[in-house]
Amino acid sequence: MIIRVLFFAVAKDLCGISQVELALSEGATLADVKHQLSQQFPGIRELLPRCAFAVDQEYANDDYLIQAGCEVACIPPVSGG
């Protein structure tokens, strides 16, 4: 299945792009997405443990089961306000 991952702020700068499509196996979890990102974008390996992740605009944990077509977002520590 194909999903879309969005990058923001420093994650976007480190990856050099604002979004990417990933091919995942059925049954993949958010942890698998993070693993694949660290393989594909070595530049964000150090940042990843500090990032939160969202699936379809809601914060999600590592065991979250990914569905085809969903929108995953890599969310570095936020600093609004």
Binding site: A9, A54, Y59, G80
Partner: protein
């Protein structure tokens, strides 16, 4: 409808927005004001010139807009469950925000000041912890950096939970 009952339209009047231009704080106060409100609290966050010895020339904000609006709506729902009779408006600006200009505003009204102060303080604190918005500092020396507060994995906002 019983003549003595008032319609419960609090959710309908709540307002959330991400804007690119100057925030109209007066309009937010008017939006949350009502004849039932005896207390109106407006918090306005502005770009500060000095951080220690460092001089800021301007800030630039980036936002994951679809999620930011969802998060603000969820925070308002939690606030309604904790404090009574609130009207809530939350607005964040994106793009370049100059020194002295507002980047964020939270307006809350309630029957009494205790609830209005408490809800407004909780909303801005929680917005800063959870809502996916980032600021980039542009310093006087020409350098710039994304501001990402240090956060351990344990401190990250858990899904769908109040922080």
């Amino acid at each position: 409808m019983k003549p003595t009952s008032l319609p419960d339209n609090r959710q309908a009047v709540d307002f959330f927005a991400i804007v690119q231009n100057k925030i109209d704080t007066q309009q937010l106060l008017e939006r949350t004001g009502s004849e039932n409100a005896g207390a109106n609290v407006l918090f306005v966050g502005t770009t500060r010139r000095l951080t220690g010895n460092l001089v800021t020339t301007y800030l630039e904000y980036e936002c994951y807009e679809a999620m930011a609006i969802k998060e603000m709506r969820m925070l308002a729902e939690i606030a309604h469950s904790r404090w009574s009779d609130l009207r809530i408006a939350m607005v964040h600006r994106t793009g370049v925000v100059g020194v002295g200009e507002a980047s964020v505003a939270v307006s809350v009204s309630s029957a009494h000041r205790k609830e209005a102060f408490a809800a407004a303080a909780w909303l801005i604190e929680t917005l800063k912890q959870r809502v996916p918005i980032w600021k980039k500092e542009y310093w006087l020396d020409g350098s710039s950096e994304w501001i990402h507060p240090e956060m351990t994995e344990q401190e990250q906002p858990p899904r769908g939970q109040e922080t």
